[in-house]
Amino acid sequence: MIISTQKPFEEILESLKGENSVYIVGCGECATMTQSGGEPEVADMKARLEEAGKKVVATDVAHAACHELDMKRIFRQNKEAATAADAFLVLACGAGVQSVREGTTKHVTPGANSLFVGNVKRQMAFEEKCSLCGECVLDEYGAICPVTRCAKGILNGPCGGTNNGKCEVDSNKDCAWVLIYNQMKSEDKLASFMTIHGPKRWNAIERPGRLDARAAGEEKGAA
């Protein structure tokens, strides 16, 4: 899921300077799990904004804020509030913010910082393990991603900074290459550890990414 944290309230207030009526949008998926934009956080934000003198015209926690059609439907159903609002505050990831962008022409501002695609270790503890590089190489590294989990994204073994199996950048983090080595050793696959890997093809996905599987399917069908 997308891991996000709420921005400091002062920063949110600053971004709403001059905007009196605010429509708050939360997200029922990732931002709920990360407690940056679920029902409780949206209610709390409403109270704080009102205390700061803002008028909150509506709050909505979308099923998933990144779903653009759903967002448009919500604003249609809530037309009166959406019309009355000067600004939309989105407590969700940057995808959610821009999904709101598609549903209104008014001022839209983010209430959270998007951090990474994260695995849930336990409640409110997340770790980045995939960075969406467009070309999965996990089969070559014992299913431990060096692109993401090595601070330098090294593809051919540890740097000189390995320290007691930890990373020189952050001694609380495991050196991905020690994890990879141990895993490949336990699978008796150290021979493939010796494969020299070329650099990533950074154009495996052209940014900004786009996938229209249905259009692709139709093209295939027509051919």
């Binding site: 330098k152 994204g153 051919n156 540890p158 740097c159 000189g160 199996g165 080595y181 890997h197």
Partner: protein, 299 residues
């Protein structure tokens, strides 16, 4: 052929030093160090934004060394440049007469003085080595034929005190496979352990033309030694050396560090441990000639 390569291939014991370019335009001290060392050593490494701290460039200083009649080992990290910029710099370096390159991944920006910079790492050390080899064969990374290939002597680093050591050894082997022709190690102090590492390394390099240089950083105080043990990954100063450094008054600590360094050089020569040494005095290069004298390397 570069002087450094010639020295390496001659089979005699090779000595290199190191120049750390300044942060700014005041180059007098650096030029003094270059003048002092250029004729006493076979080559001078020039660091590339060492420790991710922004400084005067490695290529410009390497060129200065060569134009003053010395030989430079141009250090190149992958942290600050993508593959276009790396190859562009390699061609530029070649144009300026540089022939030895030390390929490094490079310290992470988070340890340096521009912590909010974007680190690149489009390549890392193994891939940079491969790339230089390919350019030596007349092609760029993308496979295009160069209008004149390069002629670089390709260097790399290895960390004999890495913990754990096994994955580090495999990476060392990959660097050789990729085309590394000489190695300078991370600083070593436990010479018995280094000798054991070299026994392994000799086994790997047997039948291949790969030269191994011990990296020696001169200790200048017991505090420095303890600091390295605590904060520099892959560097280990054993207890007996800590005690030896602590056994003399503060004002004699540098002298003691020089003695230890000279002794380690002698150890490498007398026991035929490696092919040479790379002596790093980290800003105190004026003490290097005396160390070489103490080790019996100066006539």
């Amino acid at each position: 052929m570069s002087k450094y390569r010639e020295a390496c291939e001659s089979g005699r014991f090779v000595v290199s030093g190191e120049i750390g370019p300044p942060k700014g335009t005041s180059v007098d001290t650096m030029l003094h160090h270059i003048e002092l060392l250029k004729d006493l050593v076979d080559g001078l490494n020039v660091t590339d934004n060492q420790s991710a701290v922004m400084r005067l460039g490695s290529m410009a200083v390497s060129h200065e060394i060569v134009s003053r009649g010395g030989d430079a080992i141009y250090q190149m990290t992958c942290r600050d440049r993508n593959r276009l910029a790396l190859q562009n710099d390699l061609l530029s370096a070649h144009f300026l007469g540089l022939r030895n390159v030390l390929a490094l991944t490079g310290d992470h920006v988070s340890v340096g003085d521009h912590k909010d910079a974007k680190e690149v790492y489009d390549f890392e050390s193994v891939q940079l080595i491969q790339c230089i080899k390919r350019m030596n064969e007349g092609f760029d990374w993308a496979g295009n034929e160069l209008e004149g290939g390069t002629d670089f002597y390709i260097g790399a680093v290895v960390t004999p005190e890495s913990d754990p050591i096994e994955p580090q050894k495999l990476k060392f082997e990959k660097k050789i496979e990729a085309g590394a022709q000489f190695f300078q190690t991370q600083a070593v102090y436990d010479m018995d352990n280094f000798r054991r590492f070299m026994e392994y390394a000799r086994g790997v390099t047997e039948g291949k033309d790969v030269k191994m240089m011990a990296g020696l950083v001169v200790l200048t105080s017991v505090g420095m030694a303890k600091y390295m043990n605590k904060f520099v990954p892959g560097v280990f100063v054993p207890d007996d050396l800590l005690e030896e450094m602590a056994s003399v008054p503060k004002e004699e600590a540098v002298k003691k560090g020089m003695e230890i360094c000279a002794r380690h050089i002698r150890f490498c020569i007398d026991n035929d441990v490696c092919d040479g040494v790379h002596v790093m005095a980290i800003g105190k290069e004026e003490i290097v000639p005396e160390i070489l004298q103490m080790a019996g390397l100066l006539k």
